[in-house]
Symmetry: C2
Subunit: 198 residues, 2 copies
Amino acid sequence: MLQNYVSEAFLERIPLYLNELEKYKNDYISSTTLANILNLGEVLVRKDLAKISQGGKPKIGYHVMDLMNDIKDYMGYNNKSKAIIVGMGRLGNALYHYSGFNKYNIHILEAFDILDDYKNINEIKDFCSEQDIDVGIITVPKDQAQNVCNLLLSQGIKAIWNFAPIRLNVPEDVIVQNENLADSLSILIKHKNDVVRK
Amino acid sequence: MLQNYVSEAFLERIPLYLNELEKYKNDYISSTTLANILNLGEVLVRKDLAKISQGGKPKIGYHVMDLMNDIKDYMGYNNKSKAIIVGMGRLGNALYHYSGFNKYNIHILEAFDILDDYKNINEIKDFCSEQDIDVGIITVPKDQAQNVCNLLLSQGIKAIWNFAPIRLNVPEDVIVQNENLADSLSILIKHKNDVVRK
DNA sequence: TATATATCGATATAGTTATACCGATATCAA
DNA sequence: TTGATATCGGTATAACTATATCGATATATA
């Protein structure tokens, strides 16, 4: 277990806070208010903020600008992150052109595929030797995903965002985040069916 | 709280089991074996399976075909689910053409947009009156997401899969699953940076 | 300046989720 | 047929996460 271990749920809440705070720049906000907006417990929010912020003032709350900066520092949004993406099908294309990553200073530097329209996959090696890549995004068909993954690992990439519906085999020090769209949607439908049946 | 409440984490494991079991059809498998393959605790897997299966045999484990059927029954994969998607940008397109939903008997029946290439958004009303739609998928820009959401809700849709980076305002009986790609990637990078720093 | 109060932040409690343990049982091997 | 054993499934325990409680404090108000 890591020293500064925080739970996944905690990490998922932080961007929510940041997005909401955007609306209250040049102002103060209390943990109670923020909690009510996001439908979270006030103590939960206060404890989350205590972990990453300089602290708030009694009766007033947190200085929003300062808090946003603390969040950005904590999450690393003030530092540029570099990604490459492999597999330029429809999904790869969508991600490659998605503008939402800019907000977090994440940049997809290059797109690879076997098609001529993109940098060829066998150029990954050269490209990675000149750049320090933080994340490899895998959007190839599932039968090629492990090969692509191995290629990325051989270039020293330690984090994989995997959209192929298979579990990748990686060493212990590599982090894989699987984004299985079909699984996610099916779980949503399961929830919905359970609620309807009460 | 619902009667048959199960945790989100539990629901996320079920498709993993199903995908893995695919490889062991016409065979038996023990919870221990399955757990080791997926890097989960054996007791956890056994308890999960106990919730949804007819049961396994001591010394042998579970009949894979039967177990798969139990999982499909439980998750509703044996019943057809219907979805529509609104917003035919790159991401909408990718989802609309994604073949992975078939495995779970989920069908995206129609795609809407303001562009002429697709059914116009103002036809959603007519379309929904003739079909019982389980899920609405929102892939429009964030400034239009709430409007589209309201439109879907007015047609009786009770589950929303939202890719727009905002929190939608919905009544209590509607389930929203947010799929914020930028947030997800930023969290992956945070994890990676924490690990590297040890 | 003195008092009331909203909020913070720390500690204690509750609730939820995962793990450990153990008797029962069906199968395999002798 | 008999004994050894792997696995199941239930109960007990531990770990983790969220909530409740409360004294301290900075601000606003009188």
